[in-house]
Amino acid sequence: MSAEMTYRPPVISGHERPMVPALARIIDRTVETSNTATYQLELCDPGLAAKFRFRPGQFNMVYAFGVGEAAISICSDPGDCTKFSHTIRHVGSVTFAISRLSPGDCVGVRGPFGSSWPLSACRGRDVLLVAGGIGIAPLRPMIYELLRHRDLYGRLMLLYGVRSPRDMLYREEVEGWMRRRDFQVLTTVDYPDADWSGPVGVVTNLMRRVRVDAARTSVFVCGPRIMNRAAAHSFLAHHVPQEHIFVSLERNMRCGIGQCGHCQYGPKFVCKDGPVFSYASIQHQFSKEEI
């Protein structure tokens, strides 16, 4: 694992206790889809706000008062950490509670936790990002970094699949990326609507539409489990080396600090060894069931 993946900015929490959330105020809320919104947050304590830094791919534990916490990727630009954003799909108790909040309301935050996408390892290489659904969220900070230092990298590609055109996150931004000549962005949907003229089908189908030079491509994957598997396996079949395929995984998390044991995946803690793993580091268990 590269030093970059293991470098960690300081963890911010309340009362200097790792399990106590720090108060953060919602300053803006953008509705993305029928069940997903992006919340821009600011830590209420200016001292903590000044200290907060994160690396692309890291996540926070976001707390809804009295309801609980959920692991949520940080999806904003790491170049400006005074404010940060979370795109949250409202699926269960914690995320429903957050969906009822408005700008001015507070949540709790602990973080950032986990490993990050190894940006420096792909200097001079082609970079291929594969996102499924909300999996685009942890990749977005990486896209900001890549575009900021665009000349450091070779070809830059994003394959992004969603269920239906209405489920596309960051729509305007994605359209902006599509217009760039130095960023190849392909989107696909499972269920097209009348206005959709793009590809239909699973995101791995898009791989046929891009040129992958296996020897010089680094691949970054984040999506549902079956998509992660299909993508990793087809890159392996294209002879992309295991060390250059990175996957972000999801598990139940109750602490984020390697103590509650919930996120264990074979000998790995997804919260501290991951969520970003090189395929090489998890190859023994990646395709096994019930690990």
Binding site: V11, G14, H15, R17, P18, M19, V20, P21, L23, C44, Y63, F65, G66, V67, G68, E69, V91, G92, L101, S102, G104, D105, C106, G108, P224, R225, E250, R251, N252, R254, C255, I257, G258, Q259, C260, G261, H262, Q264, Y265, G266, P267, K268, F269, H284, Q285, K288, E289, E290, I291
Partner: protein, 383 residues
């Protein structure tokens, strides 16, 4: 004085307890409750299970009278130091909502100040378990409660001269002799204790117990007793290549056979001194203005433990037993640089159906080793 062997009279044990209490410690040691020797607060040596022993086998625990009146003539019971450093249920904070809409929270982390505990009668395996838990709870993101109790804890250890029926610490290289972490280590002899200080704090304590330097004969006797103990373990486990074997054989048929017996009751994880998994629960009062976060012991044997959005990672008992055993004996090495099993035998004794880690791991490992040998033979023959 640290590291040298001394003799103290048996009557000094009560003085030791008194001294520790005078120093402001809660003394936690072995005592009999509900037919088992548990760790609990004690005020004098009279509360120790003097003259008792425990008979332990897979799924079996019974107290019996000894023919002598040894203070420490038994091994470990269902409890360990874990219960005091990482309590079964603990409030992490309470939080009050001030104003409406949610304009802020006030967090209160003040729990009762962590007690200063002197653990008496800690065995070598439990010291090793403490070392493991230190790596979990007292590392990069220290658990504040664990850290505080651990920092002030006094450890009075006891070397085991009579291992129990489910003990296998010598296989795990954690016992029967206490080699580190203790302040004071005692070896019970027929008419006295041999005592060794491991720290300055231990030395200061020992000095107050009228110690006499142990002569060569006593030193020799202690050596013999502990060597003999190492050779009389109730169980054994061959740990050679065990982590690799377990990690590489998740599909071994023996996992199914264990799963058929396992009740997924979690007794093993609750009694294990190294198991650290927990659940974190948030709740509010009826008015909805005050909330709390509690942490309680969890277990990888429960279904909900592996729940995540979209399902359960380990829906079968087979997957859960496999997770537990593989984590203990294999994954732990990668995570914490040591085995997660210290060979205390608690999980074997307290399993209602007598599932035995040493047997289950050995069955798989022997089978894989045999197959490897056969394969190598076949390869050589075909050359």
């Amino acid at each position: 004085m640290v590291g040298n062997l001394y003799i103290i009279e048996k009557a000094r044990l009560d003085d030791l307890i008194r001294l520790l209490r005078e120093d402001g410690c809660r003394v936690v040691g072995p005592t009999i409750r509900d037919g088992a020797i548990v760790f609990d607060e004690i005020a004098s040596a009279e509360q120790l299970p003097r003259g008792w022993t425990d008979v332990q086998e897979a799924g079996h625990y019974r107290l019996e009278r000894r023919t002598d009146d040894a203070y420490f003539g038994y091994v470990v019971g269902p409890y360990s130091c874990k219960r005091y450093l990482f309590p079964p249920r603990q409030r992490l904070f309470s939080i009050t909502r001030n104003g409406r809409p949610l304009s802020g929270f006030d967090v209160d982390v003040t729990s009762a100040s962590p007690p200063r505990i002197a653990f008496l009668g800690v065995r070598a395996c439990d010291l090793a378990a403490l070392e493991i838990q230190d790596r979990v709870f007292n590392a990069e993101y220290a658990d504040p409660y664990y850290r505080d109790v651990r920092r002030s804890a006094v450890l009075i250890a006891v070397n085991c001269s009579e291992p129990g029926g489910t003990c296998f610490c010598s296989s795990m290289q954690t016992g029967p002799r206490c080699t580190r972490l203790f302040d004071l280590a005692l070896t019970e002899l027929p008419a006295a204790f041999a005592a060794e200080a491991g720290t300055e704090r231990g030395r200061a304590l020992l000095e107050r117990l009228s110690p006499q330097p142990a002569d060569r004969n006593v030193q020799h006797l202690v050596e013999l007793m502990l060597e003999s103990a190492a050779e009389h373990m109730g169980r054994a486990l061959d740990t050679r290549e065990l982590p690799e074997i377990l990690l590489q054989n998740p599909e071994h048929p023996h996992w199914n056979r264990v799963a058929e017996r396992c009740l997924a009751c979690a007794n093993c994880t609750l009694s294990c001194p190294t198991c650290f998994c927990s659940n974190v629960e948030d709740s509010t009062d009826l008015g909805g203005s005050r909330a709390e976060r509690w942490r309680s012991w969890g277990s990888c044997f429960t279904l909900e433990f592996s729940y995540h959005t979209g399902g359960f990672s380990r829906s079968s008992v087979r997957a859960r037993y496999r997770q537990w055993l593989t984590h203990k004996l294999a994954g732990w090495h990668e995570q914490f640089g040591m085995s997660g099993c210290v060979g205390c035998g608690r999980c074997i004794t307290w399993c209602p159906v007598g599932i035995d880690v040493t047997k289950e791991a050995t069955t798989i490992a022997d089978d894989v080793r045999r197959a490897d040998v056969a394969e190598r033979g076949a390869r050589e023959r075909s050359r």
